[in-house]
Symmetry: C2
Subunit: 193 residues, 2 copies
DNA sequence: GATTAATTGAAATGATCGTTTCAAAATTAA
DNA sequence: TTAATTTTGAAACGATCATTTCAATTAATC
């Protein structure tokens, strides 16, 4: 009976992500989204409810891709140390290959909206918890394997790494010198060994 | 002959800084600025030219205060290690005492505008250069004093610290647990010793 | 081919955006 | 007081904001 949703929701989300990532939430207009997604204004409101609704889906979409990338690195690497190194080098690739120097969508949004919107705040809180859980698990494994020291608890090192990742993403906005960034990664990871 | 500028420019800048800091550049409207500064709309345009013009002055104002704070810490501390520790603890105080959890104005602006506005980009470039110069100098001194190792050059450690500061500011937006943040600082600084 | 329901296009909503205009008020010096 | 000059208030600018409306179009089921 009904006409079915014709557009590819993943494609639309990907295009919307690109605009939000490049211009930020407040810098992106509904017209920008209409242009980027090739979707009708009405269809956007039908499918996403509002600009913020669409943005929340964009954030989740971006987060799930990031998580799946981390999962891949975890499965490929031999030990916890290699895994963490690989995660940082994934970010490094992202920095070097992005011609627009956008940084990380989630980090950018954290600084733009966390203190302004409760929906965003709780997204950021659960994102932080997930990141800390993944990192803590990795550090814990590394400590079991004796490749990481136990000067600090896994929980403490996880926060250290989480903070370092955010700093790395911020640094990459202006600096995309591969050698300098690789050296930076090594310095960050040194304290764990 | 003429009527002279009546308002206190520093006060106005301080009030404008508070709004821009809390809501971000794109999230701040001219009406917000009129309300916050108690200045007339016309007077703002007379004295600052445009919204972006006012924001650039706000950035410089914020930067000069930050620089003078770093200078104070440098003069009070006994050695390079204490100085860097004091700088981080200055940021820590800022994080813990800010009820709005705004983070750092410059870091926030870097993520919001660097890839969108050439004026902002060059501000950020010179800000990064200044920070790196200060940090490199401190690390160099610490290495002369033998309180820092020479595993990396002062230049390399400076980038590491610059990145760590940005990460610290981002982390402080959600996490203001003093003990956890103090421990984070110690972990960051450990690699230098 | 008729029925059904979602998608679509385009226009319109009222609000707010950054900025400009300009006459009236305010303040200083002659 | 008069002349000079800036600040001020208030209104208006056209543009754009996010969102709503609705009739026309489209496609899937019967």
């Amino acid at each position: 009976m009904p006409k079915v949703e014709t557009f590819n929701r993943n494609n639309v989300l990907q295009n919307a992500t690109e605009v939000f990532h490049r211009k930020g939430y407040n810098g992106t207009s509904m017209q920008d989204l209409v242009d980027a997604t090739d979707l009708n204004r009405s269809s956007i409101y039908n499918s996403f409810g509002s600009k913020l609704g669409m943005f929340m889906e964009v954030l989740s979409h971006y987060q799930s891709i990031a998580k799946s990338n981390i999962g891949k690195e975890t499965r490929q690497a031999q030990n916890a140390s290699d895994t963490i190194q690989a995660i940082f080098e994934m970010y490094l690739r992202d920095i070097i290959t992005d011609p627009n120097r956008k940084g990380c969508l989630i980090v950018n949004c954290k600084s733009e909206m966390t203190n302004q919107d409760p929906l965003i705040r709780s997204f950021m809180e659960q994102n932080q918890e997930q990141m800390l859980a993944v990192l803590e698990d990795l550090v814990h494994n590394g400590q079991m394997e004796k490749v990481f020291n136990e000067d600090q608890t896994a929980t403490q090192y996880a926060l250290y790494l989480y903070s370092a990742i955010q700093g790395f993403r911020m640094t990459g906005i202006l600096n995309n010198n591969e050698d300098e960034l690789k050296n930076l990664i090594n310095t960050v990871l040194k304290v764990l060994h």
